[in-house]
């Protein structure tokens, strides 16, 4: 077992990075003054992993859309009792989520941490599926899917992904469809489980009130050593241009919603590159930018306006979202602003302000044990060091921001998704 203490001197914060003998990577971030502990056990397996094989196997397996999320639900079930019933005896607040590229099981607690951690490590390592329980879950997830179909924020986002991407599985809804989940059975679940829930493909992150040795003792006791295996994922070719320029859906909403995306070429980015992109977006469309204030003054957006650098395994895009009576005009103004910066360059003053703001926000995020544990997991799966973000912002050169502007904001690769009100929405 290898154990290393990683420090950030300026902030007085630190965490342990541990290679456990079982094959699992463990991160422990003690916060001595905290009352609660947050633990998350995750696998590098999400909704986009629908086609895969283990190294050495001949054929790729193609599985139904939504199966990673279905598996997440089913793991809570046990032969004797489900995980929630077990957590009920410790008082922990437990949950799980599936994203595009990972699935994670978590709890937070203020007392009886050791027992809850044992439950977490145990149930995630103990799959139990039967035809009856699979069928029952189809009813529950069916309602979850319908809930999202009525959610305009969710719809406008996924419609944009469908417009940006032709083949990339990021365009698929995380929960799948009522039809796709009907194809799921116990055997398929076991097959996905065996491939992706190997400890070498997973990580455990604990933050808050925690004693390192206590975690390691429980890990020694509970973790079943995994043989190292290599997963080969098969992603279809993705053209560089967008799939569709503009998509519209009608739903019962008051004001039209929009998501505007610019597709970027995917490559594994360094932290400096990611920070440069975030600074760029802050300069371009942040609350102190000319663009944001003009859009507000002209009545084209309201305070729901937001933007993000949407980046995961196999995909990256810049996305702007909000509500507007004239979404196409918003898009026009965004394009204009990007071209303006390309022509006129970026002011030093704007750059310095963006840096300061990003730095402060990154520091603030360390208030939350939830943010820390999820951030550690995310950094691990992206091969980045968690504290790296602070230096990457503090020492960010302006040229890097300019490079992102020219390399990754190509206004010819823009798509817009709009959700418009239906006539009889009231």
């Amino acid at each position: 077992m290898k154990r290393e203490l990683v420090r950030n001197e300026a902030l007085g914060e630190s965490y342990y990075s541990i290679d456990h003998d079982s094959g699992l990577k463990i991160y422990i971030y003690p916060k001595e003054k905290y009352s609660s502990t947050y633990a998350i056990f995750g696998t590098k397996y999400g909704s986009i992993d629908t086609c895969f094989r283990l190294k050495g196997q001949k054929e790729y397996v193609k599985v139904p859309e939504g199966i990673a999320h279905f598996l997440e639900h089913k793991l809570f079930e046990g032969e004797k009792e489900d995980a929630f019933a077990r957590y009920a005896r410790t008082g922990a607040s437990a949950n799980a989520y599936t994203s595009f590229d990972r699935t994670a099981y978590l709890f937070s607690c203020t007392e009886r941490f050791a027992e809850s951690l044992e439950i977490l490590l145990d149930f995630v390592q103990s799959p139990y599926f039967t035809p009856q329980t699979v069928q029952k879950e189809q009813g529950i997830i069916g309602q979850e899917i319908k809930m999202y179909e009525d959610n305009p924020d969710w719809r406008v986002f996924f419609n944009l992904l469908g417009a940006l991407y032709k083949n990339n599985p990021v365009r698929i809804d995380i929960a799948g469809t009522v039809e796709s989940i009907a194809q799921i059975d116990a055997d398929l679940l076991y097959s996905c489980y065996r491939t992706f829930y190997n400890l070498h493909n997973m990580a455990l992150c604990v933050a808050g009130k925690v004693d390192v040795n206590e975690v390691l003792e429980i890990a020694d006791k509970m973790l079943k050593k995994s043989e190292k295996q290599e997963i080969e994922r098969c992603f279809p070719e993705e053209p560089s241009e967008v799939n569709e320029r503009r998509v519209v859906q009608k739903l019962p909403v008051s004001l039209p919603l929009f998501h505007i995306g610019i597709k970027c070429d995917y490559k594994e980015m360094t932290l400096t590159e990611v920070s440069a992109m975030r600074a760029l977006l802050q300069i371009l469309a942040g609350e102190s930018s000319k663009l944001y204030n003009e859009l507000l003054d002209e009545g084209l957006i309201n305070s729901s306006f937001s933007f993000e650098f949407f980046e995961g395994r196999g995909h990256s895009a810049v996305i702007f979202g909000g509500e507007s009576m004239n979404s196409d005009k918003v898009e026009g103004k965004i394009i204009e602003a990007i071209e303006g910066f390309k022509k006129n360059g970026i002011e030093n003053e704007d750059f310095e302000r963006a840096k300061k703001s990003l730095y402060g926000r990154a520091v603030s995020s360390l208030n939350s044990v939830e943010n820390i544990a999820n951030g550690l997991l995310n950094s691990h799966f992206s091969n980045r060091e968690f504290f790296g973000v602070f230096n990457s912002i503090a020492e960010l050169p302006k040229e890097d921001v300019v490079r992102q502007l020219h390399e990754n904001l190509d206004v010819n690769r823009i798509a817009i998704s709009i959700v418009e009100p239906v006539e009889n929405s009231k």
């Binding site: 300026a10 902030l11 003054k33 905290y34 009352s35 609660s36 929630f84 957590y87 009920a88 005896r89 008082g91 607040s93 437990a94 937070s108 203020t110 007392e111 029952k136 009813g139 529950i140 309602q143 319908k146 809930m147 179909e149 009525d150 959610n151 305009p152 924020d153 808050g208 739903l251 019962p252 909403v253 008051s254 004001l255 942040g286 609350e287 102190s288 204030n293 507000l296 009545g299 309201n302 305070s303 729901s304 509500e323 302000r353 300061k356 703001s357 990003l358 730095y359 402060g360 926000r361 520091v363 603030s364 360390l366 208030n367 939350s368 044990v369 503090a394 009889n424 929405s425 009231k426």
Partner: protein, 422 residues
């Protein structure tokens, strides 16, 4: 952690929570006014108007640039409801001086800024500027209209409008579209003056240390206001009302949203409400509650079915996203589960699980700066102020008889469903 409350003048206090576990400090001004149809819209626009500009930073872009310089300080304007009070809040949160790169004094600057935003708006001829009013009027109307986008929130508001139509509780704290549309600049100015003169006000500072600066700054500012009688925000507690009322709306949606509104008959500041909090958790507040285990897990009727009790009004809402055709099945099962609680048909392990869960959620509040601040601000009208630990201990001491007694007080008042067109 050290907590100190000091009175600035009648109806205005300052609460200081000294706690060094966080990397940021948080300062807020909270004004409580009784929800009232006559001025709800004028009050609602105030935090958003104040968030736009002040004397030193006379427009939004200048103000937002200032926030960037304060290391990305966050400045929130919020309108909410607490019991039957309308709450107007301005909050600023920024990293502590220890963590600024060039050792700038971030916190003192934030306190000054918040104070100026509240007391010295960017006026023109003694009034809010027309341009600012129109901008915030448009956005507030969009916010009110936008509530329809989230079907769960929309259905909850509709249910409460029907159930509490004759109570202040049924009033949307954001106001109404027509109300906002017709606001005159004089009404807005008067609302601002009245809020400062007769609102119940609580300033809060949550940070590593409190050197007394914030108290002095707020005290100085409020001393210039001619304070009048403080408006009363006490809620009306309504018990069983007789026949169950049923309402439906339809809209092109895939999933129906069911809300069942119950009267719990118990609310602050009249009674210790923690036993009802526990009863609601046992009923439908956890993933091992009666509603989760039966409506979701056993009958597979939904993805969520939850109970929430508002202890500042005495209303308990159960809600679920369902197929419209299953409405009666779900309603019946919810009633069956409530009857079980009334009869004491639950075992000690279930009760203990609910206690652990609620106690855990209370104690977790210590680790969230926003949550901790809210915890203390929101107890402003309670019969007593408890720390999260004290409240958790209170929960742990509740007997099963007490829970049965609470359950037996819960009566169904209104059933509301938002359903699809087919």
């Amino acid at each position: 952690m050290e907590i100190r409350t000091e009175l600035l003048c009648d109806g205005v206090d300052f609460i200081s929570i000294t706690e060094d576990r966080f990397l940021t400090n948080r300062i807020s001004a909270n004004i409580f006014l009784p929800l009232d149809k006559r001025d709800v819209s004028a009050n609602a626009i105030l935090p958003f108007l104040l968030r736009r500009a002040c004397k030193s930073y006379p427009d939004l872009i200048t103000l937002n640039r200032r926030l960037d310089e304060l290391y990305g300080a966050r400045l929130f304007a919020e309108v909410d409801k607490l019991g039957e009070a309308q709450v107007l809040t301005l909050t600023i949160s920024a990293i502590d001086d220890r963590f600024t790169i060039s050792k700038e004094k971030n916190t003192a600057a934030c306190i000054d800024l918040l104070c100026e935003l509240l007391f010295e708006p960017a006026f023109e001829n003694g009034k809010f500027r027309q341009k600012d009013i129109e901008q915030e009027r448009r956005q507030l109307i969009e916010l009110i209209e936008g509530e329809i986008n989230d079907k769960r929130t929309y259905a909850r508001n509709r249910c409460l409008e029907y159930m509490c139509g004759n109570e202040r509780y049924g009033i949307n704290p954001l106001g109404t579209k027509d109300g906002v549309k017709n606001l005159s600049d004089d009404e807005i100015l008067e609302a601002w003056r009245n809020a400062l003169a007769s609102g119940r006000i609580r300033f809060a500072l949550l940070g590593k240390e409190d050197d007394g600066t914030a108290f002095e700054i707020f005290k100085e500012a409020i001393s210039k206001i001619y304070r009048q009688n403080v408006r009363d925000c006490a809620p009306e507690i309504v018990g069983a009302t007789g026949d169950v009322k049923e309402y439906e709306d339809s809209m092109p949606v895939e999933q129906a949203k069911l809300f069942m509104g119950f009267r719990a008959g118990i609310a602050e500041p009249d009674e210790d409400t923690y036993a009802m909090v526990l009863t609601a958790a046992l009923f439908g507040g956890t993933p091992h509650s009666r509603l989760f285990l039966n409506v979701r897990e056993k009958l597979s009727l939904c993805y969520y079915c939850a109970a929430r009790y508002d202890r500042r009004k005495g209303v308990l809402l159960v809600d679920s996203g369902i197929e419209a055709k299953n409405r009666q099945k779900v309603v019946d099962e919810v009633i069956v589960q409530l009857e079980c609680l009334k009869k004491g048909d639950f075992d000690d392990s279930e009760l203990n699980a609910a206690k652990l869960y609620v106690a855990n959620s209370f104690r977790s509040v210590f680790d969230s700066q926003g949550g901790l601040e809210r915890w203390y601000i929101n107890q402003i009208f309670d019969r007593e102020t408890l720390s999260p630990d004290e409240a958790a201990a209170r929960i742990e001491g509740i007997s099963r008889e007490k829970v049965m007694k609470c359950a037996s007080q819960i009566t169904l008042d209104t059933v509301y469903m938002l359903k699809g067109l087919n």
